[in-house]
């Protein structure tokens, strides 16, 4: 064979070449490993991304369903609600008349008349909640001081005997830029809920904090709190935790706050994750635009 004739020098050269190739191969191996790892990482990230997107899509779909449900409910409410107001109006007039001409009626008669009158008011409240939900009027926004708005709400909805109200509102806060009627209605709803969460009495705290053109207005009760699964459905229309009530107050509130460029959040701080258990107290925070943010 020809190779037999190779010189020592030739052999040395071949050896060097071989070593080089081995080194190159090793390098390629490292590169391959690196690429594999990158690929793996990328595929994991892709999974995450898909998951994120899916969640966003699901949320969007849920929101759509919520809106659709509201729209259907709205149409129905518009029709039924308005038609109910006429007979409610006549009943309410008739009772007013009877109560006026019968000041000396016996106690049972008086009690029954009062019963009709208060049931009419209850019915009227349901109708107006339904109508508010079906058609949120465009917000007529103006400047209003938080302290004034809160004072108006508490005047309209004074606390029951056993509930004490504390307000912590600094005097140097910028004015809100909202529809005072709509936001007032939201606060009335939240305050009523808070009162009702404390049937045995307790403290209601209303705080306002301004931050970066926004006002954080929070209403805290010392009631039994809200469980996690209820919390998730709280703003859905027709979801209620009350024995009386059809579950429109918070859905209406959410719509009204959003119509004013704000948002609403709920916290029930120490609520444990285990089912059925609830923490102590709830805080609803309404985030609203201030006048500062508009200029």
């Amino acid at each position: 064979m020809k190779d037999e004739g190779k010189t020592k020098k030739q052999l040395m050269n071949e050896l060097v070449e071989l070593r080089q190739r081995i080194a190159e191969l090793g390098k390629a191996e490292t590169e391959r490993k690196w690429a594999e790892e990158a690929l793996k990482e990328y595929s994991e990230r892709l999974e995450e991304m898909v998951e994120e997107r899916t969640k966003a899509l699901r949320d969007a779909q849920e929101e759509l369903v919520r809106k659709e449900r509201l729209a259907v409910l709205g149409q129905l409410a518009g029709g039924v609600g308005h038609e109910l107001r006429n007979p409610l109006g006549v009943i309410s007039n008739a009772v007013y008349y009877l109560q006026t001409i019968l000041p000396d009626a016996d106690e049972t008669t008086k009690e029954y008349l009062e019963m009709i009158s208060s049931e009419v008011r209850h019915g009227e409240k349901i109708v107006s909640d339904l109508l508010d939900l079906s058609r949120t009027k465009p917000a007529e926004r103006e400047e209003i001081a938080v302290s004034d708005l809160v004072a108006q709400v508490l005047e309209k909805q004074p606390p029951p005997e056993k509930v004490k109200v504390t307000t912590k509102i600094a005097s140097d806060l910028p004015p809100l830029f909202v529809d005072p009627r709509q936001v007032g209605q939201v606060l009335v709803n939240l305050v009523i809920n808070a009162y009702e969460a404390m049937p045995e009495g307790g403290r209601l705290t209303i705080k306002a904090k301004g931050k970066k053109g926004k006002m954080y207005l929070s209403i805290s009760d010392a009631g039994c709190g809200i469980s996690k699964e209820k919390m998730e459905r709280l703003f859905e229309p027709l979801f209620t935790t009350k024995a009386r009530g059809i579950g429109l107050g918070l859905a209406v509130s959410k719509n009204l706050v959003e119509a004013n460029g704000g948002s609403i959040e709920v916290e029930s701080p120490s609520a444990p994750l285990r089912t059925g258990e609830v923490g102590k107290g709830s805080t609803f925070t309404v985030v609203l635009p201030t006048k500062e943010a508009q200029t």
Binding site: H82, E83, R85, N86, Y97, T100, L131, P180
Partner: protein
């Protein structure tokens, strides 16, 4: 006004019109019911009424059209709308047409009774000016138009004078012993919503004070010599707003007139 207030109630739902008129009669008013727009219009033409309370949605002639027709006959007759449809476009149209307010059914009767008693009240005005001659002449003009006028020449006694049921204040911005702005602040501290119309003869000199006064919610300003027609128009605008406020109609800020 010793006579009974005369109220016309219009609703195509007869039970609504009848129950309301029965309530108002029991409460000491003279009330009549009409069941359609044309019928109501006929009654306005024939008789005298002090207030019309009408439903909006009625066949033939709706409440807003009725209001327009009434204003053509008797422009100063206060019209109040009532409706089951709170977000109706007609409500907005009615407010532009000059109705006092639009109420949602079921009606808050006590609110309406409060409104009727405001309607019965004499229109009263307090004039604050340290020029006795000005007070006297303007006072006579307004009295001739059935206003109850109180004149205050000593600006330190304004708040005292206001205790007696004032509906509107005419305040001179340049007084001898105290600035008009200070008086306004005193008034605001006691009566946050009372409409105060500023008056001045010194346009340029007083303009910073007037700006400051408008900021703390003075109603508007007038310049001397006063145009009586302008003043009267302003006074009926103030009354319209105040009556609306009694019925819970939200009070809009008066548009600032740029000069």
């Amino acid at each position: 006004m010793s006579e009974k207030l005369r109220i016309l109630i219009v609703d195509d739902d007869r039970r609504m019109a009848n129950t309301l008129s029965d309530i108002f009669k029991v409460k000491g008013y003279e009330a009549q019911a009409a069941y359609s727009g044309p019928e109501a219009l006929d009654m306005v033409k024939k008789g005298r009424f002090d207030c019309v309370l009408t439903d909006i949605k009625m066949p033939q002639m709706n409440g807003v059209r009725l209001c327009r027709a009434i204003k053509a006959i008797q422009p100063d007759l206060p019209v109040v709308l009532m409706t089951a449809y709170s977000a109706d476009v007609l409500v907005k149209e009615g407010l532009e047409e000059g109705v006092i307010a639009s109420l949602t059914k079921p009606l808050d009767i006590n609110l309406l009774l409060g409104f009727f008693s405001s309607l019965r009240k004499e229109r009263s005005i307090v004039i604050v000016d340290d020029d006795p001659q000005f007070c006297k002449t303007l006072g006579e003009i307004l009295r001739a138009r059935d206003f109850a006028v109180t004149q205050v020449i000593d600006p330190h006694k304004v708040v005292e004078a206001l205790r007696r049921d004032a509906q509107v204040v005419l305040l001179d911005m340049k007084l001898n012993s105290i600035s008009g702005l200070e008086v306004l602040k005193e008034i605001r501290a006691q009566f946050p919503h009372l409409p105060v119309i500023l008056v001045t003869g010194y346009r340029e000199e007083m303009s910073p004070a007037i700006e400051a006064a408008l900021k703390i919610n003075a109603y508007t300003r007038l310049y001397k010599p006063l145009q009586i027609e302008t003043l009267l128009q302003l006074l009926s605008e103030v009354r319209h707003r105040e009556l609306g406020r009694v019925l819970g109609q939200p009070v809009r800020k008066r548009k600032r007139v740029k000069r």
